[in-house]
Amino acid sequence: MKHVVRKAYWDYEKEEKWINDMTAKGMHLDNYSWCKYTFVEGEPGEYIYRLELLENTATHAESIAYLKFLEENGVEHVSSYMRWVYLRKKATEGPFEVYTDIESKMKYFKRVNSFWLSLSLAEITIGLANLGIWIANLTAIEEYSKFINVNLIGGAICTFIGLGCLSLSRPLRKKMRQLKNESHVHE
């Protein structure tokens, strides 16, 4: 029996937790497309799910080689969305973490961080450019039209989203600093 849940997540750690909570209730994620999760009923707690941001899109040759390696090692590739992949492993096989040592964790966190930063930068650039156009038009045209308001609203939304991405990724950067400290004494 399939169940479709429409839900939007900004924070991938919360998303991962939610997916694992669903599994604990016997609802296993089977497919993800934009904000649409398809679950299949099964044994409660059968799997452990992990989300991973790949270096390339899931269809890239390097990603395919990596996902094939994972499949050979008991990790199932459930679904993917652009560079994000949804992975799962049978819970009977023990704990499942994709990265287990400081070096590879750090490398992974850097990848996620630069994903957030480039997203923020793009949004803020578009946002500020639109606000700039709005201000320029405000002084150039006396009666500003609805068209100009599009720049104001659009620009404000983009800037807001950009700032949101920056603040969402702040805990990640804190984790990176802690990990870096740890790396001075442990490997």
Partner: protein, 107 residues
């Protein structure tokens, strides 16, 4: 043929040790877990990165898996064996010094 005097990471050391007999990824994970009595549980992402680094350094080689098996197996090279021997000497020094100091401290 030691490449440098730097320490190996635990992950690299145990992967190299595991590959004195050819193994595929899953075999390496299991072997490292057994060797370390469950202390070192290699994540597949960590293992994948380490294997690629070791391949590019020429410390391990890929080999054709068993017939009918499409899983890729790996084996340590002579260069890799030299690295392991140098690391054992280094670890030996660490342990000897550690034990010596602790013994003296107890007296």
């Amino acid at each position: 043929m030691p490449e440098s005097k730097n320490a190996l990471t635990e992950v690299v050391y145990y992967i190299l040790l595991s590959l004195y007999t050819p193994l595929h990824g899953y075999g390496i994970m299991q072997n490292v877990k057994d060797l370390s009595k469950n202390r070192v549980d290699l994540g597949p992402g960590t293992l994948y990165g380490a294997i690629n680094t070791l391949l590019s350094k020429g410390w391990i080689d890929p080999i054709e898996g068993e017939k009918g098996s499409r899983k890729k197996e790996y084996v340590i090279t002579d260069v890799g064996k030299g690295i392991v021997q140098a690391e054992i000497l280094r670890l030996d020094e660490l342990i000897k010094n550690g034990k010596k100091v602790i013994k003296e401290g107890q007296l």
